[in-house]
Symmetry: C2
Subunit: 306 residues, 2 copies
């Protein structure tokens, strides 16, 4: 059922070079095409709306679930609701991601709405890669919404990556942290041509001892435009740190609007943002080693987004 | 015409312990009460609306102009428009500031709208202190609006200080910088009780080589609330840095919402914000030297806001 193009796309967005270990669900052009469940991880098709329920049993350790989505046709408008129940004291990796290959001239779009209940003491790493390609002029649009409720003592790591070729994206990420819950978010974003990207990340430090670290790195090239919104709300004795760095090139525009909101005297919140060009010393150094300007630039950008 | 209370208020807001050197204009309870002009600095009463025009001749060096405002009655609602023409290649100090002594039980308010044309190559230091006192329950409200057009190669230093006793403030500061123009803004703010303070600072880096540095420090105590908005817009090869630190105590709330907007690939913009409590190590150190907790706190806060 999966052809060579499908496999290439899966490798890009979910590092799936073969059928993965553990549970998975592959969605292609708006329909589920392959699924595997395990004793500890169940996947159920929703009956009321498009999407799946992913249920990880308590105490499940060292397992993973891959739920990539690929779109290989034009004019698709795929909306999907996925719900995750990450059982107490489990330790799992969730790999989502969406690739759009659009050779046509009309838009293809995927909107994924992911809600997570991360139960007491659980650990979850969530990786989401977005990628677009194709010879057509049709837009490749990805609007993910990710909502996480993180219970007492649970830890969540989010890796959100937009590799290349996505014409328009609106990312929404909301995290609510209970007592001693922790979130680490790393975001990597590259835009070029006429692309636009908007990313909103809201983290509520509700519980005592909760903590959040957000690291966002982006590169804006050509005529592309990036908008970042961060909102870090300290409602208890908690710690939060946002760091947002952008490299701006050509005629690109980058807007960074963070907010830190301390509503408790023991909330410690820090925000750092920097927008600038590639450092010329770095360029000169690499060029003195024999690289062309273009190669030197690419090397620096690759390192920056790694 | 100035009584002892007036003199105390003038000392607080304009460091005026006696009649100052140079030009000055003292406004009391909505009316001008004393004025002095010099050969180089003229002060004219506006004919179309309340307020004055302050005109500094080109090449004026080492002179100052004091324009303090004091309100010593309740129920005042004083709105004033002051326009400044800071001549090319001059080097002057402008001391504004407003003190409200309100012993009554109804509100007294002063809204000062200050517009500056800072001409080519000029240097201006602008000091604005706000202070409230009085036994009454009547609110002491100060809403300053400060708009600066800074021409080529000119430098402006703004010191904006709200010392104490201001129940409600909305501060608006807008700065537009031409080629090689420079602004340094330092803001110091303390709120306590049920006070609220809002400060918006917008800096447009329009000209090539322009630069901006904004340093905001605040202390929020009791049930007070502070809202900060910064907007740093890089429209050319320019540099901007915003640093915003707040100490939060008791049941206070602090919101910091900066935006950095890079609309040019050679704009280098940095923002740093931190909200947190007084560092306990610092407290312990001072207390080990024999200070009470209160004294140690006061010492730290005084140093922080200096």
């Amino acid at each position: 059922m999966l052809n060579l193009l499908d496999k290439t796309m899966l490798a890009k967005v979910a590092d799936m070079h073969e059928i993965p270990q553990g549970a998975f669900n592959i969605r292609k052009n708006g329909q589920g095409v392959e699924r595997r469940t395990t004793d500890n991880i169940n996947i159920l098709t929703k009956t009321d709306k498009p999407g799946i329920d992913i249920i990880v049993k308590p105490y499940t350790k060292g397992e993973s679930v891959h739920i990539p989505v690929i779109l290989t046709e034009e004019s698709l408008n795929d909306l999907v609701y996925n719900s995750f129940e990450i059982g107490a004291y489990s330790d799992v990796v969730v790999v989502a991601g969406c690739g759009i290959h659009n050779d046509g001239c009309s838009k293809s779009q995927h909107d994924g709405i992911h809600t997570f209940n991360v139960r007491k003491g659980a650990k979850m790493r969530y990786v989401e890669k977005h990628y677009g390609e194709g010879a057509g002029t049709g837009g490749r649009v990805l609007n993910p919404k990710t909502i996480l409720d993180v219970e007492e003592g649970a830890t969540v790591e989010l890796e959100l990556v937009q590799i290349k070729g996505v014409d328009s994206t609106k990312r929404d990420t909301e995290v609510r942290l209970a007592q001693n819950a922790k979130v680490i978010i790393t975001e990597r974003l590259l835009t070029d041509k006429e692309q636009s990207a908007e990313s909103k990340i809201i983290v509520e430090l509700n519980g005592e001892g909760s903590s959040a670290q957000i690291i966002s790195r982006s590169v804006a090239q050509d005529h592309s435009k990036q908008d970042f919104y961060f909102d870090l709300i300290g409602r208890s004795a908690s710690r939060g740190h946002v760091q947002c760095d952008a490299i701006i090139m050509h005629d690109a525009k980058v807007y960074s609007t963070p907010r830190i909101a301390a509503e408790h005297s023991e909330a410690q919140l820090v925000h750092e943002a920097a927008i600038g060009r590639i450092e010329s010393e770095q360029l000169i150094k690499l060029m003195s080693l024999g690289l062309s300007e273009k190669e030197a630039e690419d090397t620096i950008l690759k390192g920056f987004l790694k």
